[in-house]
Amino acid sequence: MYAVLAPATAQDELAADEALVSQGRELFLVGCASCHGKNAEGIITQDNTQYGPSLVGVGAAAVDFQVGTGRMPLAQPGVQAERKPPVYNEEETRALAAFVASLGPGPAIPEAEKYSMEGVDNEALVRGGQFFLTNCTACHNFAGAGGALPGGKYAPPLTGVDPKYMYEAMLTGPQQMPVFSDAVITPEDKRDIIAYIASLEEGPSYGGFALGSWGPVSEGMFAWLVGIGSLVGFAVWIGAHSTRSKKGGRA
């Protein structure tokens, strides 16, 4: 993997912490080496397919994302790694990130200011929305509800995702997601995109329940099930015979 020379500070900090790196190596050998190789060089099978790719140069950011969102370690082989409860705690994740960072230069874990909402004025929010609609919604959908990719793969929903992970995903391009390098989508742009996504999540649902934000597919389902269902139910009530009385003679 090619790597952009990330800002040297955070990267080198992690990689320079020898204790952290060796702690990370220990964890790596137990939990990751079976797919990624003992030195994270990757494992290629006889048929030329991959068990796990080489992690040299992926950077601390990639590890923080994959391990922090629980995608790694992979629970079962499949077309895509799924988000699940993380196996490693924060300290262990940092150690793993340090180890991988020590293997070769790569994107660093972003500092908190990079994805903090402070200083995001309305203009930046609007700009973030425009970036989002241009670069992200084609896969992730207008509300970040996710979308389908070929062959059973998918772009996951963005709801409930920590801003740091969103930043790291854009930076490192996990699995099929493309890379959005800091040189093209600058850190400010990334922050604006994240702010926009947060505003969608935090803002009120103006028109009522969002029905999954899937658009006309779920709207059609509700129209039929709730709308026609209840109206046909009313029609049955209207046309039903009323209770008949047992008392009283023929009227």
Binding site: T134, Q176, P178, I238, S245
Partner: protein
């Protein structure tokens, strides 16, 4: 032919006639009747209250800058809708309850009349028609008839021709885009030009021609409004970078990329939706509209889906300041197929 209105002979069972009316509890029990009456009146009364609540909600809940919310939903919409909904629904339910419980529910019978008119009516109508036609003499005067038909038919022409200015003729508009030799490729929304070393392997850039962000001496955009929309609908592109050894270009296209950076039209060749569902590992790009899939490592050929043609590729190179530029415009029309689009 058997008269369709007589019962068909050989019916195994005779029609037993209307069943006797059986009374409802509200017909015989005054307490039940009173209860039903109160039910109906209560529904109507509740409806009136809901109508008033609508008026209250209209002024009580704010929208706009400071939207009131209720449990995460917009409060104004919610309460206006609930109050209006119940105001209407309760009138309906009250009316139905009234009909079902209290209105006289004896079934009554109405006879049908034959749908066709009676014979005397038909004869009279036919006679009137014949007399009228004979009076006009149209049958005896084919010259008048034919010339009238011709005149009325000709009126179709002005009706059609009057609509000619609905739009301009297509000309060669569909075959041209704004891309020219030397035009910089810029990041969409930001308008920033791109250098190859800013693009990583696996990166996707949604890009536009630089002219879309250009301004003239007065600071006004060079292209804007619906002209901009029309040109965007043809000129939007995507830039992707992959390992050079993964690319299999056509013989003529070997120098159309820059160090593994390729530029393709973003406009799907099926019906024109913008595509940017790019999978960086497979190099496939998927269109969200109808799931056409293209392989960008192999000249964007169609792998799956209803598209018939590969995405047009824009030949790119680098200008003297190091920014990515187009070598020329597209070598084929961009976007959906059309009748005149021959190879």
């Amino acid at each position: 032919m058997v008269d369709p209105h007589l019962p068909v002979p050989g019916d195994p069972i005779d029609n037993p006639g209307l069943p006797h009316h059986e009374p409802r509890p509200t017909d015989v029990d005054p307490a039940a009747e009173k209860r039903a009456e109160r039910q109906v009146a209560a529904m109507f009364g509740l409806s009136a209250i809901c109508a008033l609540l609508f008026c209250v909600a209209y002024f009580a809940f704010d929208i706009g800058e400071e939207t009131d919310t209720f449990m995460g939903l917009g409060a104004s919409n919610l309460f206006l809708g609930l109050s209006l909904g119940f105001a209407l629904l309760l009138i309906g339910m009250g009316a139905i309850q009234w009909a079902r419980k209290l209105m006289r529910d004896h079934e009554i019978v109405e006879m049908r009349h034959p749908v066709a008119s009676s014979e005397p009516d038909r004869t009279e109508a036919l006679a009137a028609l014949t007399q009228g036609t004979a009076d006009s003499g149209i049958a005896r005067r084919p010259l008048i008839r034919n010339s009238l038909l011709g005149a009325v038919a000709m009126l179709g022409l002005p009706a059609v021709v009057a609509l000619r200015d609905l739009g301009p003729l297509p000309g060669d508009a569909l075959e041209r885009t704004v891309w020219r030799k030397g035009m910089r490729i810029v990041n969409d929304v930001a308008g920033t030009p791109i250098k190859p070393d800013q693009v990583e392997i696996g990166q996707l850039i949604n890009a536009e021609p630089a002219v879309f962000f250009a301004t003239d001496e007065e600071g006004e955009p060079v292209i804007e409004g619906h002209e901009l929309q029309a040109e965007k609908a043809k000129a939007a592109v995507i830039l992707v970078r992959m390992q050079p050894e993964d690319i299999n270009p056509f013989p003529a296209r070997e120098n159309w990329g820059v160090d593994g950076i390729l530029c393709y039209s973003k406009i799907c060749t099926h019906v024109g939706c913008p595509i940017s569902l790019y999978e960086q590992q497979t190099h496939h790009v998927l269109c969200p509209c109808h799931q056409s899939t293209f392989d960008l490592a192999n000249n964007a050929r169609v792998l799956f889906g209803p598209a018939a043609r590969p995405l047009p590729q824009l030949p790119i190179s680098v200008d003297d300041e190091g920014y990515l530029i187009a070598q020329s415009g597209f070598e084929e029309p961009v976007g959906p197929s059309f009748w005149e689009r021959g190879e």
